[in-house]
Amino acid sequence: MGFLAPWFLAGALALGVPVYLHLLRRHTTNPRPVSSLMFFEKRTQSSTRQRRLRFLLLLALRLAVLFFLVMAFANPFVNRRGKASAGDNLLLIVVDNSFSMREGTRLADAKREATSLLASRGGGSRAQVMTLGSQLTALTQPVQDPGVLRAAIAGIQPSDSRANFGELARGIRSLADSVHSPIEMHLFSDMQKSGMPASFSELSLPGNISLLLHPIVRDSVPNWTVESVNAPGQVWDPKKARVQAVIAGFHTPAATRSVTLVVNGKGVATQNANVPANGRVTVEFQTLDVPYGFSKCEVRIDSADTLPADDVTLFSVERADPEDVLFVHERGDTRSQVYFGAALVAAAESAFTVENVPADQMGNANLQKYAFVVLSDVTSVPSAFENDLLRYVQGGGSVLIAAGTSSSGHPHIPVFGGNISDTNDYSRGPERFTTVGDADPSHPSMQNIAKWSGVKFYYAEVVDPGDARVVARLTDGTPLLLDKKIGEGRVLLLASGLDNITNDFPLHPSFVPFIDQTARYLSGTERRSGSAVANSYLELRTAKEQAVSVEVIDPQGRRPLSIQEASSAQSFELTQAGFYELRLANGRRNVIGVNADRRESDLDVIPDETLALWKGNATPQTAASSPATASTTEEPVKPYGLWWYAMLVLLVAAIVESLFASGYLGTQREEP
């Protein structure tokens, strides 16, 4: 017996009001003088006594009204247990079907135990079946039909997702918001340690949830896996491409594992890896000889363990010819082409081939074959070339212009159109140099702006930006990098040189990624990745590509997107391990190798103490730790509110009180 809102009991102080009015205040009546009591007989007193009794009854009724009003608000309850509440309970069966459940007969064991639990409960109670992967998935609604529930359990298939018990707790908390009846949750899982969230508090469950754990395995199982593969997504020169694979062993003894690189189903190289006990080793394949186009590659080991699904890691490689870049420079300038070319080769993995041409030799060149054109501190270009270059940009081409010291005498910048209003020679100033001030990190060329902090600029042209986008400024506000869209193409202007005279940028480590990002930005190619983790999301289209349809083919060769989804979906979840083939909205084709999260390969289990703590966190009353005891748990105690009865008695008392009070008032009415 208790009260759900005990603070309303303070309202019981109001009981003193009728007591005061009936008993205390009554005695303060002033005596009334009369000539004689001759005609007031003894019978008068009996009448008064009767009335006093009636008053007491009225007092009792009024006290009862107030008392039950207070009780109704205080909401008393009694704890009940038994069959009466069993029908209201929801039996929630959660089966872990994460990637690690592929080991041995884990999933089959879990399904069998879940089925036996369902059979032991019989019909009559509501139950729901869910699976735990990367998220909680309901396979059925709360139903009483055991056939539906058994079929749902039997239909559970292993997934390539990573189990997250924090996600389980979050899903159950959401469920408890809508289901107010007690929920008895049975979790059938291998209780993988890697599934625990970073914070234990994320496992907390609402009070109406009783958690019963059914660990399928008790001990850790040794397992080798290809933990990761570092391979380029695009290959332009197979001889320069390398593949690095990390072979890891979890709870394993030291062993030698055979590692094979498979390209399009054919093993092209094999190495032996000496994997230390419970450790990892890196294996490198020096070449990646793949044909032109997309190749489905994998790194495979012969683990001979009980989880073969993680013995292979998939990735795809696209081989293409390198694109040409036209680098136009002054005849005497040899530094800039060296720095630019070295940076481009080092960063872009031979994706581009630089063609260096002095400015005075530029004639009627076919610019359309170049990915982009670089004008490195050229004082002037032939007018014909400038016209070709302008048409090239307007037709969708891109130009990078570096304005060094040679440009100072020529106020006009080719193609860009802006004028050089002044020059800043910082080497003559007191500090001898300046640095980058404001920069726009959203611009593709400036994604590593933090690394520009140590770059010293000794000289910079002051360019009127006009309608160009200023991507970066020096600390004195001088525009350093400007991006201008002309026609369908764009021109990127660096108000300093690409040599080490006007700045020390080429000597700085941030120069290589800047050249890499700028080259990919100007050429319209982006670095692609050939692999992804299961349950990651793939962006299908950008904001400009809304109306264009995309196509996704999953590892089973099916198209998981409907026609409507194919024309509107922004992203797609890669749920299965295997090769996905995609045709994106920009028309490019892509192949992605999807692998399960390798944290699932660590088959270490959660310690019993942690499991006990988790169960205690859910409901202290249920201490079942084994499937046998779990199936025989007691009915949970349920508070049974009594406010409804209090309100009913209050209503009756109020009616009777009204009748008595009206009768009392009626006798005082004088005859006319």
Binding site: T29, P33, V34, S35, L37, F40, R43, Q668
Partner: protein, 295 residues
Amino acid sequence: MQRFLDPRVLAGISGLDLVAKTVVDGFVAGLHRSPDFGFSQEFAEYRAYTPGDDLRHVDWNVYARTERAYLKRYRGETNSVLTLLLDASNSMNYTSHSVKKMDYARYTAASLFYLAIQDQRDAAGLIVFDDEVRNFIRPSTRQGQFHRLLSGLELAEPRARTDFAKPLRHFQEFLRRRGLVLILSDFYESPETIVRTVEPLRFHGNEVILFHILDPQEIRPNLGQSAILVDLETDERLEVTPEYAHDEYRKKMDAHIEALRDKTRAAGMDYYQLVTDRPLDGALREYLTIRQGKN
């Protein structure tokens, strides 16, 4: 003039003599001329002369015209003795409005004295009693009697309780001459006791009138809620409910009044009820009716 007989108006007049004059003058002015009352030298009738009659009473004018001797009859010396018995017990102190029963009795007594002494030259006396005779003013027609009586009324402050039996013998001692006896009281005694006590006065040849003075709340009490009632004479307390006061009490009071009226009249006495919220002319009219009967 009728409004001057309102007890509430009279209560605002200081001095019983002025009250009495106001009442009587107002009352008389409200009457039409009547041959039934007047001064003692007033002509009454003619009677044939018989030998032995006093010749001074022969109307010689009539004899000259008719040669028959007639005697003129006058209303004789009909001076009566008015004795007023005033109950000055504590119960007379009760009131439910602005005029106490005692004040109402004083106004009535003063008016009767005024009418008797000033208008009719009757002798008037006063006995004030409760459970003893507290004051006695012998009936007289002497100069200043009226003011002595008023002074006696002024001094008659209610106290103690009523007991008719005890002062009875004193009444008989004092009332040696036959006359008119008026008793002003609230008569909180059984009718049998009252009549048994007062009846000897009637046997003595007196005209006895009982003026029953009651407050309207004594006849029709109205209690809004249960109340503790205190007896003004005995200080006894009793809690009474509105239902009882509304039903039982009224029945008992009505029965009491009815019994007192019946037994009083059965004993050859007159009974008149005076309610303190009504004008005072009722008592005067009753008095004059009795006086007419005596003549």
